[in-house]
Amino acid sequence: MVTESRPGKARVAGRRGDAAPGGSAPQRARTKHGRSALERTYTPWFYVPAGVIYAVIFIVPTVMSFYFAMTRWTLFSATFTGLDNFKQFFSEQALRSGLWHTIVYAIVTSGLKVVLGLLLAVLLTSTIRVRGLLRSLVFFPVLVSTVAVGITFGVILTPDTGLVDTVLSWVGITGPDWLGNPNTALLSVALVDVWKGVGLATVIYIAGVLSIPREYYEAVDVDGGGAWHKFWNITLPLSRPATFSVILLSFIGGLRSFDLIWTMTGGGPGFSSDVIASVIYKEYQAGFFGLATAGNVVLFILVMIIVFPLFRWMNSKEVDL
């Protein structure tokens, strides 16, 4: 989807930007070599190395995966089975719950990242002390390895003796077994995901908020509006491009989330935090390579169906400042 929308953009960039940075270079090219030189800045041979790499590493495996999705594949040999793998994949009980968990996870994480990211960005663009330090601290979890985060929080969320339950016991609350209880496992992982990912959302929002011209805020001051008016009528609507970016990035991230879930719960207890990616991963583990490839093809199409229209819609809603 998004990949498909890129060639168009890339071509534009190729005509204008590839020749040389800055606007003057294409003009020079036009005066020296005329229009045809503009059309073809380099000889075709120049594109071959990149083209070969792209074909071998991306196009060939993608096409092959569509074939292997229709086989019983043991790595040693592949037997063509038609659409059996897809039938099997869709009849799986783990898939239905996995689909639901994926959507819940994507919505919870992207929703919280939007809300928290915006609030943190407003805080961190205000005139507070040690702003630079606070900005770094918010961004820090993004830099930490996901697996390390998963293992660390696995320890923190241990029932009874873990940090969270210990703190809760000081105020007389008996904390649940966060990751071991089927009712709380998925949400616990989602909250850790938010902690880890909110820094990126905040940075995008900071960029968005800072790009709003000061004149609008001055206009509110002239009209006698307060801080709330500034936030509700200026910051919120004018940071919409940032909001869309955050939603899109975190939603895709949520749909394909795997590493954190796998390190924290392994999809369990039972199937209670299984998402599509972990369902597929387990197929691979079991050695059902054809079936798992079919699952990946389904996931590919699913992400395309959800994200492409979202992307188009958001682009159509963008405003100029």
Binding site: T3, F76, Q93, G180, P182, S245, G267, G270, Y281, N296
Partner: protein, 443 residues
């Protein structure tokens, strides 16, 4: 301008996201490999691939030392591999790329079948390498009438490990029926003192421990229907509809429903479970008998073993797991030396060396083997079942069909998310999937 840049960045990240996702399919990590030089000059190097748990490493080292002592001029190097399904993938990949060590240790039974042994492994039928092996082991390393491996370590039991101190303090007897078992659990619960009657450990990746009530119950299933494995492989009998097979799932649900299980079962690991059992904080643990290697020897002396009880006291018995196998890939350049090593593993010196690393938790399947007097009690308990012929190999050694999701289904049943009847039906579907992927006839 800024917005356009942002949009492009978004598209780029989104595209990268998709690429990463599809890269899943090639995510097999290659392990470290050591080259094996057959080189001249009398010195030879043999390479070995083993599991990576501490007990295996100790045994491996002791075995290698003994082998090198008995064969001067030979150097044995070993590499380790992860266990579980990750290890399965690594072994399959190494075999298919010709990168496998001269000897590797891997599961016997259904998992071996998936390695396509007739194409990848050296045929050891009637070979001196396995001459000293008890013939009862051969069925689990045989495909198409050919034997492909020798045993690694001992056989072990799958059932209930119990703390003998707790049992004697409360005056309990080893239960012969499921009702006796529940009565014992009830007494332990009533006695208080913070002792958990039944330990369960469902934290990933120790989720597999949830399967013991189902897999360990197989002796009872087979006692009721001796043809179960055959009919099961032929798709004629199902867990959900067979009145005996479903009892494993019901037992799993029952102990949770009656409140016998530790409260942190969802985040407890196998090591924590064994610690609870060894220190007497827990009384009974559905587990494999070889897990006593995880606790100190003085604690292991207090741990006994009994099979998952059925309904008939006169037929009480246990389900036995066969040892893993030592196999030689066809791509090995040192096949003769590799055979010598496999043969050495099944001599008295070999098993004694192995026992130095890991105390035996069951009998070695070698001709004329007897347990040493200082073996942990679980080994003797298991030997008694074997001597009395009150045992059956686990189903995974009798049938190539084993669904990959059993552990998750068992956790779902064991935590009360799924009723046992539904769990058994889900497992039947899971098995159907496996059989279809294996391309078995009749599915």
């Amino acid at each position: 301008m800024k917005i356009a840049g942002l949009r492009l960045a978004t598209a780029g990240v989104a595209a990268a996201a998709l690429v990463t996702m599809s890269a899943c399919s090639s995510g097999l990590g290659g392990g470290s490999s050591s080259s094996s030089n057959a080189g001249g000059g009398g010195s030879k190097t043999l390479s070995l691939l083993v599991g990576q748990d501490p007990a295996t490493l100790k045994s491996t080292q002791a075995l290698i030392d003994a082998f090198q002592k008995a064969n001067p001029g030979v150097t044995v190097k070993f590499d380790t591999r992860p266990g579980g399904t990750q290890g399965d993938n690594l072994v399959k990949t190494k075999l298919s790329t010709g990168d496998m060590q001269d000897v590797f240790w891997y599961n016997s039974g259904s998992l071996l079948q998936a390695l396509n042994p007739s194409k990848t492994l050296v045929d050891l039928t009637g070979d001196p390498a396995v001459a000293n092996v008890d013939p009862s082991f051969f069925p689990v390393v045989t495909q198409g009438g050919k034997v492909y491996g020798g045993p690694v370590g001992t056989a072990f039991g799958g059932g209930i490990l119990y703390n003998k101190d707790v049992y004697s303090k409360l005056g309990l007897q080893v239960p012969k029926t499921w009702n006796d078992f529940l009565a014992n659990a009830d007494k332990i619960k009533a006695a208080g003192g913070g002792i958990t009657p039944i330990i369960e450990t469902f934290k990933a990746p120790d989720t597999w421990t949830s399967q013991l009530f189902v897999l360990g119950d197989y002796y009872n299933v087979q006692t009721a229907n001796p043809n179960f494995a055959k009919d099961y492989t032929a798709n004629k009998i199902k867990y959900a509809t067979d009145p005996n097979a479903i009892k494993g799932f019901q037992k799993l649900a029952e102990v949770k429903a009656k409140g016998y299980v530790n409260s942190n079962y969802g985040s407890a690991t196998q090591a924590q479970g064994m610690k609870m059992l060894g220190t007497g904080k827990g009384a009974m643990y559905p587990m494999l008998s070889n897990a006593v290697a995880l606790i100190p020897a003085d604690q292991a002396k207090k741990i006994g073993f009994f099979g998952i009880p059925g309904d008939d006291a006169s037929k009480a018995g246990a389900t036995v797991w066969e040892p893993a196998g030592a196999y030689i890939p066809k791509t090995s350049k040192n096949i003769d030396l590799a055979k010598k090593f496999v043969a050495f593993m099944n001599t008295k010196e070999g098993t004694d060396a192995f026992s130095q690393g890991t105390p035996p938790t069951g009998p070695y399947l070698d001709k004329g083997y007897t347990l040493p007097a200082d073996a942990p009690p679980v080994a003797a308990d298991l030997q008694n079942y074997i001597n009395a012929k009150a045992f059956s190999p686990a189903l995974e050694f009798l049938s190539p069909v084993k669904g990959p999701s059993l552990e998750q289904i068992c956790v779902a049943v064991g935590t009360g998310q799924t009723p046992p009847q539904q769990g058994a039906a889900q497992y039947d579907q899971d098995v159907t999937k496996e059989a279809k992927q294996l391309g078995l006839p009749g599915w």
